[in-house]
């Protein structure tokens, strides 16, 4: 069983980003970059499946500029076996990413592809579902638990108001949610070892994929700010104030 995990390099979730004054986008300057947290959960799940003897190989793939190699090295240090870097300088939309990944899947023939449910920069929540559509595969999105049986995958999904369990024919797509696992920190020896693991370089053109954006950015702005209100001194005063507003009776 082979598992492919797609990862994205994003601004670290602890960094407060700034909107550029000219409205042209977000200034990420020299901001600390990290692996998208949901993708880290994806790498962890794949590595655990390998450690449990259920998977034989874990391949990680990412699309982006040369620096994306650092993100792939992190995945390799966590336990992935090899990496594929699809080099592209500009922003690639989820549809473009899904098209590139489709070609990677065709070449690699994994049984399961794991992706984060959402990247914390563009917050699109699309790539996994789109890849499933392009491949004609089922999709187990927002997974909090997965179980491999013979030729099916049982996925417990985070749904509105509870959990939903679905059974999917393999090969299949999985997108991760928070509760699937807690990703490990790579140990120093593993970080050193990761440097020797293979990392292939490709481009979207090598796969014959056009990744030109379909959405035209008109402007990027600061969100409107709320004003701080008043401080109250006690719970009973808070209750009284809330009743005054009419929000509660």
């Amino acid at each position: 069983m082979k598992i492919l995990v797609a990862v994205k390099r994003v601004v670290d979730f602890n960094v407060a980003i700034r909107v550029k004054a000219d409205g042209s986008g977000v200034d990420i300057g020299n901001a600390k970059m990290s692996m998208n947290p949901f993708d880290e959960i994806g790498v962890e799940e794949a590595v655990r499946l390998k450690e449990a003897g259920k998977a034989t190989e874990v391949v990680v793939v990412s699309i982006g500029p040369a620096q994306v190699q650092e993100t792939l090295r992190t995945a390799l240090a966590m336990g992935a076996d090899r990496a594929i870097l699809v080099k592209h300088e500009d922003y690639v939309e989820p549809l473009g990413v899904a098209k590139v990944l489709k070609e990677v899947v065709t070449a690699e023939k994994p049984d399961i592809v794991i992706l984060g449910k959402q990247a914390i920069d563009d917050d699109c929540n699309q790539t996994g579902q789109m890849l499933a559509a392009l491949l004609g595969w089922p999709q187990g999105t927002f997974a909090s638990k997965i179980d491999i049986e013979e030729s099916t995958l049982t996925v417990v999904r985070e749904a509105d108001g509870g959990l939903q369990t679905v059974r999917l024919r393999m090969p299949t797509i999985v997108t991760t949610d928070l509760r699937l696992n807690e990703p490990r920190y790579a140990s120093l020896p593993n970080i050193m070892k990761a440097k020797k693991k293979p990392c292939d370089e490709m481009t979207p053109a090598d796969y014959g994929v056009d990744v030109k954006p379909r959405l035209k950015l008109i402007k990027t702005e600061e969100p409107s700010k709320r004003q701080a209100g008043v401080k109250v001194c006690s719970a009973s005063e808070l209750a009284a104030k809330l009743k005054e507003t009419g929000a509660i009776r």
Partner: protein, 308 residues
Amino acid sequence: MTVLLIAEHDNASLKEATHKALSAAAKVGGDIHVLVAGYQAAAAAEHAAKLTGVTRVLHIDAAELERPLAEPMAANIVALAADYDHIVAPATNNGKNYMPRVAAMLDVMQVSEVSDVKAADIFVRLIYAGNAVQTVQATDAKKVITVRIASFPPASETGNAVVGRKEAVADPGLSSYVGETISRSDLPELTSAKVVISGGRGMQSGENFKLLEAVARKLNAAVGASRAAVDAGFVSNDYQVGQTGKVVAPELYIAVGISGAIQHLAGMKDSKIIAAINNDQDAPIFQVADFGLVADLFEALPQLEKAL
């Protein structure tokens, strides 16, 4: 120009998310048709016919659509797509699941979680956990859009549209429903509640969420949580309010023991009134709260319950 709105329903009636997504669809302009795809869902289809501004309801009934699994849902929507310029769905868990699949099958780049509609092809959405607001123009011939339901008011029910049956397309047979566990049935649902009370890391344990539930019962409120509380294992993920959890905009939001990390604020800052209880007077939550109480929540919550 015609818009196809995908209804969120439980086969018996529509969920309010549909009414809200309709308000976004109405801003696009043109005729609006609603798709009710379900199983024994005639009542939900009749309900959809009442939606203000809807001219036609398409009702598809098939066993595999009882729960909206992404694979058959997307196949049925795509089969109808030729007649429509816009396909719109609420960004509920279901909408987020099947809509990108629809978009890719149509070779369209979806616009996710639209918070405003500026023109038929120009949409506003939040990025970076709500730290930036983007306006984008969709250049694909068809537009596939999910709607951030907290950003739109619910449409009313004064309509009388025609309901027409459509045949379901063959089930792709890729997926099957096994079961579900629904949590918190006695309190309102988080995304539709008029009042929400949420707990953060300050709650210290899942057991202590009972203090929130006691207040919630008095207010007929839903209980939510910050990501920190979910990460700490106090409550399950479906409680999470935030950019990667649920986005809510109730009449009243009460944040208890929540510091106010940006990713949490993104999920609740459109609430009409925000109240916060926290023992740290410098907590960022107070910068967005209309009413702030600096206090130990373990003392304040029982007092609040009594005072309500």
